[in-house]
Every structure is written in C-alpha cells, then in structure tokens.
C-alpha cells in the first residue's frame, strides 16, 4: 500500500516537473505582484497602466512571442504571502518572469524561488539597496535611497548649509536614507545635529517638528514612504511654522510625488527634492509617454515614479525575451541586459552590470505652481548616479 502511494507520489511529482520545464509556448507570461487593493492600491494601478502604455506603444509581441502580464494582488507587506503568490505564478501560471514588488520584504521573499526556478525578477519599486545582492536574477529599474540621497547631501553642503536635522521613518529604507545623508553630508563638512526616527505609522508630526526647531538646524532632510504619511509630514512642516521660520526642506522625491501634490497644496511649494523622475521632465519621450497615458486612461494625474519604474521594467523584460528567443533561462536573460542603455521617459538610463540596478540621472527639483498646477520642476541634474548603497552595508 505504501509502495503504491510512494509511486503515485513520485509519478505526480515527475509529471509536475515535466510540465513546469517544457511548456514554453509562444505566449510568455510575466507575473506582476503588487498592491492592487488597500491603502497602496494606486501603486498597483500605476504599474498596470504604465505596462499598458508600454504595450500600446511597442506592441505585445517580441521576436514572435506574445508577452502577457498576469497580476497578483498583495495589498500590504506580507513576505510569506508574496512567496506563495510567486510560487503559484511559477508553478501554475508558468510565468517566465516575475516583476512588480512595492515593498522590500516582498521582493526579498522570492530570492530562493527565482534562483531555483532560474527566472529573472524585475523590481519596479522596492528600494532597499540590499535586494539585488540576494540573488543574481534580480534587476531593478527604480531607484534606491542611497542613489537619491548622496547627490542631495552634496548639494545641501554646497549651499553653505552647515547644520541639518534628519527625520526619517523608522524602517529599512528610512535608515538607508539617514545613513546615506549623514555619511555624505559630514564628509562634505556639514553636521547632522539631530537624527529623528519616526514610527512608520505615525500621523501626528507636531512633536517631531518641535524637536527639529529645538535642534537649531538650518534645514531638514526627511524621508517617509510615499502616501498618507508624507502628506501629514509636509503639512505639519508648514503648519507648525518651520517653513515660515526659514528652515529649508530637503528630501527624496517620494515626499512630493505627483498624485499627492493636489492634496498637499501650497504646503509643498518650495520643497527641494532629488529624484529620478518628474512628470515635468522636459523630453519628447516623456511627453509621448504622458500623451499615450492620457489617451488610454483619460488623465495622467497619477503618473509618478512607480509608473516609470514599471514602464522601464517592461522594456527590460522585452529585451530579455528578445535575447533568449522566448526560452526560459533566467541567468542568460539577466546577462543580456547587463550594461544595456536606453532612453527612458526620465532621461538616459543604463543597467549597471555589477549591481543590476539602474544607473541614471538624479534631478534636483523644486516644487512650484505653474499654470495653476503644482509640479516638480527640474532645476539641475546629476548624471550617471549609481546605487551607492550596493554592498555598502547598513
């Protein structure tokens, strides 16, 4: 009885393995794991819309293979669920590529899986430097906190500002940002007079504003994850009189992301940020990207950094499909895009062969009102910024 059982088990196992290995038809599936419901649903929406814009512009076939995107909802950071979804995509949907990932732990969760299945994973957002170190099959088309912060800290130092307080959310990316700013700024001769770590979920920022005021800082560096928290923080900065007192506000661009600008209103005016993408980026490609977006979805209000992460991610996946001729070979696919350079709606970008992270121009932007609408105007650019955090430790 148990012998039969084991044979049946082995048989099933064998059949499964056979199916997973060979069924590469001319439709190539890409599994996208992202929040499509819950508080971060806009992120998933930007991913999906950007992918649709890309497919509308470049067609759905590459080298004779149709590329189909399959979406899985992961409404909050939940790595165990992320792994289960990825497993389902690989085993059941037989996807050849994984993509998406808004939160770092969700992206980290699939590392063993993509290694075992030899599948490339293109990260559209998750921004902790350590991710691409965990598997050679990760490629990232977004940014890291280090990448955005290092040029910003140098800029702040050049402005003659000597005393800065940092205020970051108390979690991985926040601490990345704090470390990156402190190291760079103090190397350039400045001093970080207070380092505040705020609980990730806090909505009342008045006490932190008081601490910033007491620290005697001339400027603040702030990072909070884009969404309700950044809104509250930027508002409090303006409402508690820090803005009126002449304290300058610097931070990575998450804090003034496009979908939040109308809600932020005049509180956002004058905030200086560094970021890889602004909707106001002055290039034909960006204008075409936005125009297509308006054509497909009626408006381009929510187009933001997550859109461009997904748009370029789709581009990378298309090149991978081309390079492998539709076969599933993660190692070869990743090898093919190492060093690849192209023009993105955010400007010139390229995949750094060592970190498999996107090297790009980081722009210095000031939020201002133009034609009645708030926008992030790019006033300067720092070209060819790598991920300074790659293998830099914590």
């Amino acid at each position: 009885m148990s012998g039969t059982f084991r044979k049946a088990l082995l048989g099933t196992a064998f059949l499964c393995a056979l199916n997973a290995g060979s069924a590469w038809a001319d439709t190539i599936k890409v599994g996208v794991i992202a929040p499509f419901s819950g508080p971060f649903a806009t992120v998933g929406q930007t991913f999906k819309q950007a992918i649709e814009v890309y497919q509308a512009q470049h067609g759905k076939t590459v080298a004779g293979n149709t590329v189909e995107f399959v979406y899985k909802d992961l409404d909050q950071a939940n790595p165990a669920q992320s792994k289960a979804l990825a497993q389902e995509l690989v085993v059941k949907e037989k996807v050849g590529y994984l993509a998406g990932f808004f939160f770092t732990p969700d992206a980290l969760a699939v590392a063993p899986l993509i290694d075992e299945a030899n599948i490339p994973c293109v990260i559209f957002n998750a921004a902790t430097s350590a991710i691409t170190e965990k598997s050679p099959r990760y490629v990232r088309t977004s940014f890291t906190l280090w990448q955005n912060t290092v040029p910003l800290a140098e800029h702040v130092a050049k402005q003659g500002i000597r005393k800065v307080a940092t205020a970051v959310s108390d979690y991985g990316p926040g601490i990345d940002g704090e470390t990156a700013f402190k190291q760079t700024f103090e190397k350039s001769g400045g001093k970080v007079v207070d380092s505040i770590r705020m609980p990730l979920k806090s909505t009342d920022f008045a006490p932190f504003m008081q601490r910033i005021k007491d620290s005697g800082a001339e400027a603040i560096y702030a990072f909070l994850p884009a969404g309700p928290t950044t809104l509250g923080f930027a508002r409090a900065f303006s409402d508690t009189g820090l803005k009126a007192a002449g304290i300058k506000f610097f931070g990575p661009g998450d804090i003034t992301q496009e979908p939040d600008l109308p809600v932020l209103g005049d509180a956002a005016v004058g905030i200086t940020t560094t970021f890889n993408y602004s909707q106001a980026h002055d290039s034909d490609l960006n204008r075409r990207f936005l125009a297509k977006h308006r054509e497909l979805f009626g408006a381009s209000d929510i187009v933001t950094f997550t859109s461009v992460g997904a748009y370029d991610g789709a581009h990378v996946i298309y090149r991978m499909v081309e390079a492998t001729g539709g076969k599933s070979d993660g190692a070869k696919a990743v090898e093919a895009v190492k060093g690849m350079a192209w023009e993105s709606p955010r400007g010139p970008v390229r995949i750094d062969p060592e970190s498999r992270h996107v090297t790009q121009t980081i722009y210095l932007r000031v939020t201002e009102r133009k034609d009645g609408r708030l926008q992030n105007t790019e006033v300067a650019g720092f070209p060819d910024q790598p991920d300074y955090g790659f293998k830099a430790g914590k």
Binding site: A13, K83, P105
Partner: protein, 332 residues
C-alpha cells in the same frame, strides 16, 4: 425521517447525539482525506494550500483561547510572530532541522503567552481586549527595533531548513511543504481535541460559562485561563514556525494587529467553540480570498465583505454549524 418526526421518542432522541458523535469521530480522517485529495486535485496550488494549513493551526490556537476559554483577544499574532521569528532566527544562526525549528517556535510562543497572559489576564472584557492589542504592538515594536537580529522591516530572510527527516527537500513546487504542514495541522488538531476533552479543558469551559461558580467549587479561574492561554500560545508559535520554515521568510506582518484580526474573522466564519470550525473557517476564507483576488485583483475585498455578511446573517454559528442544522433538521 418521517417516522422520526412522528416521534418514536427514546431512540429518536438518542439518535441525534449519536450521529453527532459519529461525525465528530470522523473529523480527523475526513480532514486528512480532504487534505490529501487536495494534494492530488490541485498540484499547482500547493503554495496557497501550505499557507492555509499553517494558518488553520494558528486559528485553531485562537479557537482554544476564545472558543473554549472565552478570552476575547486581538493579540494572537504576538505568539504566532514570536514563534515565527524564534524559528527564523534559530534557522539562520543555529539549527535548520524543520522539526527542531517547530519546537523552538512552539516554545517561544508558549513563553510569550505565559508571561503576557499572567500579566494581562487579571482584566476581562474590553480592557483585556485592549491589553492584548497592546501586547501585539509591543512585540512588533521590539521586533522592528531589533533590526540586527530580525531584519526589521525588511523581514528576516535566508531561512533554509534542511530536508525533512534528511530525505525530503523543501523545493519550489511545495510538495514537501504542503504534506509537512498538513501533517503538523492534523497532529495539532488531535492534540487540541485531547486538551479540550480533558478535565482541564472542561474546567476551562466552565470558566467561560461561569467563573464565579468555578471559583466557588475551589478552582482558580485565572490559573486555568493563563494555562490555556500558554497552551494556545504553543500552538500559535508552532504555526508561526511552520510558516517560517515553509516560506523561508518572516515579516513584520506576522506580529501585526491585522493578522490577529484576520484570525478572528476566519474563526467567526467557521464557528468559534468547536475545533473543526477553525479549520473550516480558514479554508473558506483563504480560498475565497484567493479565488476572488485572482479573478479581480482590484475589487475582491467587496466580495469577501458580502460573503462575511451573508455568513453572519444566515449562519450565526459559523459554517461548522451547518452540520448541526442538518442533524436538527432530521430530528424535527
């Protein structure tokens, strides 16, 4: 059945409990059979099914606390997460045998439950509910702060359990994971049933019904409840460890308030106060969640809400009470 309705009283009256007992005895074989059938029927969904089995064990622990002890809690995730992190940290630094990891998780969950239970079970009702929420948030904050050990908000990754019994590797198809999780769930179910039917379990039910009377009879309601809380903590800890072993990663969500609340929803859905209710509720909730989210990743929550409302309105005793209705329906 018509004959029963017209009333051959003694036998008919005896039939309902007998039928129920027969059903009760068949629960474990039925669960095992259903679990194995699912293994063959849905070989591509083992990832989900593994999560369901581990979650069912976690909801089972909540059932022990709430359904049999009457302790209103929204803090069960504190024990689940402690178990998951303890097993995860042990796997990264010390051992990687899956069974040892489960033991580590169970120990951690039990300890956290014992200590916090002894502290907070003075209170009752809403106060207690708030204290349990406080516990889960404190544990989460500790885990978040202990970044070097737990990975903080990035999650604790790099958990690589060794093959089960040195033979079965935890591969990406999840066969080992699922069968392992199913076996742990069944053993957990049997142990839980043994506990519930023991004199101790009956005493706990007594405390739930009327703590004053238990005290008058010479028992200590608080001691019973703390013990029960600690025992359930072991179950939750093992469930956490099981999740850590089978998924290879632990995140802050596993010690979150919302994870506690979700367990409560699953339990209410299945039917609190009976062990099989916990399993049925988990399977129902997670399956519907999964199917709906696959069909419509954008609006699935609406359907879940409707389903919940339907269940609460038309089946107040949970899905497991369907069997009762069936039996009662026969009798009258």
């Amino acid at each position: 059945m018509g004959a029963v309705a017209t009333g051959q009283t003694p036998q008919a009256a005896a039939r309902a409990p007998r039928l129920r007992r027969a059903l009760g005895g068949a629960v474990v074989p039925l669960l095992a059979a259903a679990g194995l059938a699912a293994f063959w029927l849905f070989p591509n969904d083992l990832g989900l099914m593994t999560r369901i089995a581990a979650t069912a064990l976690y909801v089972l622990s909540l059932d022990l606390v709430l359904g049999f002890g009457g302790i209103a809690t929204l803090g069960q995730a504190a024990m689940f997460g402690s178990g998951a992190y303890a097993a995860g940290i042990a796997a990264v630094h010390l051992v990687n045998d899956p069974l040892v990891l489960l033991a580590v998780g169970g120990l951690a969950g039990g300890l956290v439950a014992l200590v916090t239970g002894a502290l907070i079970l003075h209170a009752r009702g809403l106060t207690l509910l708030m204290l349990t929420i406080a516990v889960v948030q404190i544990v989460q904050e500790v885990v978040n702060k202990a970044r070097d050990l737990t990975g903080g908000s990035d999650g604790l990754s790099g958990i690589e359990p060794s093959p089960l019994f040195g033979l079965f590797r935890f591969d990406m198809f999840g066969r080992t994971s699922y069968l392992f999780a199913l076996a742990v769930l069944l053993v957990g179910f049997l142990v839980a049933r043994r506990i519930v039917r023991s004199p101790f379990g009956l005493a706990c039910r007594g405390v739930k019904e009327d703590p004053l009377r238990v005290a008058a009879l010479g028992g200590s309601p608080r001691r019973y409840l703390v013990t029960l809380y600690a025992v359930a903590g072991v179950f939750a800890g093992v469930a956490g460890a099981l999740t850590a072993v089978t998924s290879g990663i632990v995140g802050l969500d596993s010690v979150s308030f919302s994870w506690s609340a979700e367990a409560l929803v699953m339990l209410v859905l299945g039917g609190a106060g009976r062990l099989v209710g916990a399993v049925i509720g988990t399977v129902a909730f997670m399956t519907i969640h999964h199917v709906m989210a696959a069909i419509d990743p954008f609006h699935w929550m609406l359907f879940i809400g409707l389903f919940l409302m339907g269940t609460v309105l038309f089946l107040p005793g949970g899905i497991a009470s369907l069997a009762d209705r069936f039996i009662k329906g026969n009798r009258t």
